[in-house]
């Protein structure tokens, strides 16, 4: 008998459990979009190069096109559909809306998911490639425009909305208590 090429798995997405049969080749991205009708997560390149498919896995960002669905079992998956609190937009979403941090909107769910993680990563004191002082006891660096740009660079936007995306992330981070400097608010 040929080995099985599909399995029934259970995914924990936005706090809900979904049981579904998946072809073992299916990426988490395709499972979300084609099997669970969660199409907010976008496919821009299917190669981990553009960031449009960014979701949060156990609170940390990941490109769902490079993740097999079977490997996502047991992880807490957050997609763009799970970011708002019911009808109330998350402050990051509201800032994108108010500051026009998008144009066509296709990279937007990935940008927003990345931004959520960026704000967390920064608050937890994680340095980036442009952080001046990376000693363990340096504390949380100020969130400058340069820091935001560096940390968001895995998310491409072809419309060229970067300037207002950076402002939206800065505004939301400041509202969440971050020390924001030189971010052109």
């Amino acid at each position: 008998m040929a080995p099985s090429t599909s399995s029934a798995i259970t995914l924990n997405i936005n706090g809900e459990k979904y049981t579904l049969p998946v072809d073992h080749r299916t990426t988490l991205l395709d499972a979300l979009r084609e099997q669970l009708d969660l199409t907010g997560t976008k496919k821009g390149c299917d190669q981990g190069q553009c960031g449009a498919c960014t979701v949060l896995l156990d609170g940390r960002r990941a490109v769902s096109c490079l993740q097999l669905a079977v490997a996502a079992e047991g992880r807490a998956i957050t997609t763009i559909e799970g970011v708002a609190d019911g009808e109330r937009l998350h402050p990051v979403q509201q800032a994108f809306l108010d500051l026009d941090g998008y144009q066509c909107g296709y990279c937007t769910p990935g940008q927003i998911c990345s931004a959520l993680a960026v704000i967390e990563e920064h608050a937890a004191g994680w340095p980036s490639a442009v952080t001046d002082d990376v000693r363990p006891d340096a504390g949380v660096p100020a969130l400058t425009a340069e820091e935001i740009r560096e940390r968001m660079s895995g998310n491409l936007c072809r419309c060229g909305a970067y300037v207002s995306i950076v402002q939206a992330v800065a505004q939301a981070a400041e509202a969440a208590g971050a020390e924001v400097k030189e971010a052109a608010l």
């Binding site: 190669q47 026009d100 296709y106 998310n155 491409l156 072809r158 419309c159 909305a161 995306i165």
Partner: protein
């Protein structure tokens, strides 16, 4: 039909910033794009593309693939439905690449040779990768370079007059005390909208229904009807949300493939392009090799103007990258010559890409102007002011409005241009050399016929129906504001429906013409509706609807030079150790008629400028001469500007009334790109003293140029 100027804010909706009406859907993931609409019994199509650059298909071994799990059919030239490609559509004759699977000839790497359709996308993809196609190969040529021996001047191209000429350029050059004669090159560039092209086709009650991602559903529906010999009324194309387009989302093989497959299989079929497939199937910007010769008096007045541009086209279709058109608008001279030449290569046909012609053309021309300013010892803005034409340099027609100098004046004030020391290579900050540069911008303001319907509903709201496409421009929101002013009601009472060919014919979103064209039709229909609404009169349950068609009014528009204008300013820092160029700031000031929604308009200008930055420093598609295909046809191999590349960019505008125009809108989608690469290159020269005439300005080019300059200086010292 009324053609009075009406957009002059009645309720003040036009001109006031408003967030996008579909914004909430976009930030919550609720907005569904073309590949995201569910259908029962949906099958998935996967295109198979040629791996050779020229030759014939010897065989398509479909039998083993048909036996693979889930595979429903394999369409190829041996079995596919016939399509008609001998017609003239909205933009002329169709690109032959739409005639997929009609013959065995292969004219470039990436030509569609088969479509595999299966129950799931995984099955379709694996089967497509397993399909063996054999070819009889022929020698190919994909090498583009200045002076290519087979270059020719296109004759009777319906889209562009290839050459214009007045006066004796050679005589005026000989008589000019100051001459610039330089060559500039720009590379092959790709649109790369974030959303890959996707279409789902199905037959629904005798009608063909296509859910697609495109720039104009009227256009796509009409072409599909002609390709498949259908009654135009039996084709419906919808395109609710579009994840970027930039000129690449018109007709492409994926729509034709989806229609073929649904016709064969009698179930809905979706075909989505992969990122790699987009590099050969949806058009691109041709590389260019341009020569510019300027002859001027010592005070900068132009005596001779010559701009010659070479670009490539395919062996199956002719497309001209109209790089030399700028001089026909921007600068006059006693003798004036513009020329486009083409070379046919074994590559896909290029297409319109955001600011086609003007983007690469302005890099060459606005760099040459800067070189002339330096040679004349003049400020680059003063040089442009000295050469402001009264009328169209080639047409002799008056300008509808031309406020390019106002843009320079406002830009210079805000940028701090007056304090600039014009001498190059003087400013240093650690390892960084600093410089500033400027360039002019222009883009045509066109308009296309459109129909619209505006309905007064019985509940006091209004419904606007216009087959516009919102490719990220904010078209829905703009039409809401335009209708609000025309109807003198609050924008919240207006619902706008777009992107459905059943709404009636309308202009596509292209050539910076969408908003102007749609606003005109919406305004006329709204005016008509207001006349029919009696004060205090009741509205029946079906509402009261007024319709418009702008074809006649547009045909009666006075012939003028109608263009948007702008001024671009850049500050750069050049790392002397690594050759890296960092743009520190960009400022663009535009004169572009009425700005409908300042919030989204600013985004669009800044987006265009971001493209200009990306073009100046990053973008470059590399073709392998041996295989004829791309190297690194993906978003890692083809880098466009990411967050970390883009500084604070500012865009603003000056008043630009267009007195004789019924809408006063000029169009802003493309002008933001124009001139930015030149402003950056001019700033790099100001920083380093070295001219960069080849894009992109890569670190290796900066380092080699610096080495070259040092060697020349050393030689000079030795010879002295």
């Amino acid at each position: 039909m009324t053609t009075t100027t009406r957009i002059a804010a009645v309720t003040g909706a036009v001109g006031s910033a408003r967030t996008r009406v579909e914004g909430r859907d976009k930030v919550t993931g609720a907005a569904r794009y073309a590949g995201e609409i569910p259908f029962a019994e949906l099958a998935h199509g996967w295109l198979v593309l040629s791996t050779v650059a020229r030759g014939r298909i010897r065989s398509v071994d479909d039998a083993p693939v048909l036996a693979m799990p889930g595979v429903l059919t394999v369409l190829h030239h041996g079995n596919a439905p016939r399509v008609e490609t001998d017609y003239v559509g909205m933009l002329g004759r169709p690109n032959p690449v739409l005639g997929i699977f009609q013959h065995d000839r292969v004219p470039f790497v990436g030509w569609p040779v088969a479509l595999v359709v299966a129950e799931t996308s995984e099955q379709a993809r694996e089967a497509a990768e397993a399909l063996v196609v054999r070819y009889d190969e022929e020698p190919h040529d994909v090498a583009f370079f200045a002076g290519h021996p087979s270059a020719y001047t296109p004759q009777d191209n319906p889209m562009l007059q290839a050459e214009t000429e007045k006066g004796d350029v050679e005589a005026q050059l000989d008589a000019s005390p100051v001459v610039v004669d330089e060559e500039y090159t720009t590379p092959e560039e790709h649109h790369n909208p974030m959303e890959p092209h996707a279409a789902t086709a199905r037959w629904d009650g005798g009608r063909l229904d296509v859910v697609d991602s495109n720039q104009g559903s009227t256009w796509v529906a009409s072409e599909l009807a002609q390709l498949f010999s259908l009654d135009p009324a039996s084709v419906r194309v919808r395109s609710e949300h579009v994840g970027g387009a930039f000129g690449s989302k018109g007709l492409s093989p994926h729509q034709v493939a989806a229609v073929m497959a649904t016709t064969v299989l009698h179930r809905p079929v979706r075909v989505v392009l992969t990122r790699r497939q987009m590099f050969s199937l949806v058009g691109f910007r041709s590389p260019t090799a341009q020569r510019i010769r300027l002859g001027a008096d010592a005070d900068g007045r132009l005596r001779a103007f010559d701009h010659q541009a070479l670009s490539l086209t395919s062996t199956v279709h002719e497309f001209i990258e109209s790089s030399a058109v700028l001089g026909r608008v921007m600068y006059d001279a006693d003798a004036h010559h513009t020329l486009h030449r083409l070379v046919r290569l074994d590559v896909p046909t290029p297409a319109w890409m955001r600011a086609p012609g003007e983007a690469p053309g302005s890099f060459a021309l606005e760099s040459a102007l800067d070189e002339l300013a330096a040679k004349c010892g003049m400020d680059p803005i003063a040089l442009r002011a000295r050469n402001e034409p009264e009328t169209g340099p080639v047409s002799g027609l008056p300008f509808s409005s031309r406020n390019v100098l106002a843009c320079f004046e406002e830009g210079a004030r805000r940028f701090g241009w007056a304090d600039r020391d014009p001498r190059p290579g003087l400013r240093r900050e650690g390892r960084w050399l600093l410089g500033t540069g400027t360039a002019a911008a222009t883009y045509p303001s066109g308009v296309g016929p459109s129909t619209a319907a505006v309905t007064a509903e019985s509940d006091g709201t209004f419904t606007v129906r216009i087959n516009a496409a919102d490719i990220g421009t904010g078209a829905r929101t703009a039409m809401t504001l335009v209708a609000a002013d025309a109807l003198e009601v609050d924008p919240d009472r207006i619902r706008v429906r777009i992107a459905d060919s059943d709404l009636g014919p309308a202009m596509f979103a292209g050539g910076s013409m969408g908003t102007r064209s749609w606003a005109w039709a919406v305004t006329v229909a709204a005016d008509e509706l207001r006349e029919r609404l009696s004060p205090g009169g009741g509205i029946p349950p079906e509402g009261i609807t007024a319709r418009s068609n702008t074809a006649e009014a547009i045909g009666a528009l006075a012939k003028k030079e109608r263009h948007s204008f702008g001024a671009q300013f850049a500050e750069v820092a050049v790392d002397v150790a690594t050759g890296e160029v960092r743009v520190r700031r960009l400022l663009g000031i535009y004169a572009a008629g009425t700005i409908v929604n300042p919030l989204t308009a600013r985004s669009q200008f800044i987006g265009g400028m971001t493209w200009g930055l990306s073009m100046a420093l990053h973008e470059e598609a590399i073709r392998d001469r041996a295989s004829g295909g791309h190297v690194g046809a993906d978003l890692a191999g083809y880098h466009f500007a990411a967050h970390a590349d883009v500084p604070l960019i500012e865009a603003d505008w000056v008043d630009d009334p267009v007195p004789d125009d019924p809408v006063g809108i000029k169009g802003i989608g493309e002008i933001g790109v124009v001139g930015v690469a030149a402003a950056i290159a001019n700033a790099v020269w100001h920083a380093t003293g070295v001219r960069h005439r080849d894009l992109p300005i890569r670190p290796d080019r900066v380092l080699r140029a610096a080495d070259g300059a040092r060697h020349r200086a050393a030689e000079g010292a030795r010879n002295a």
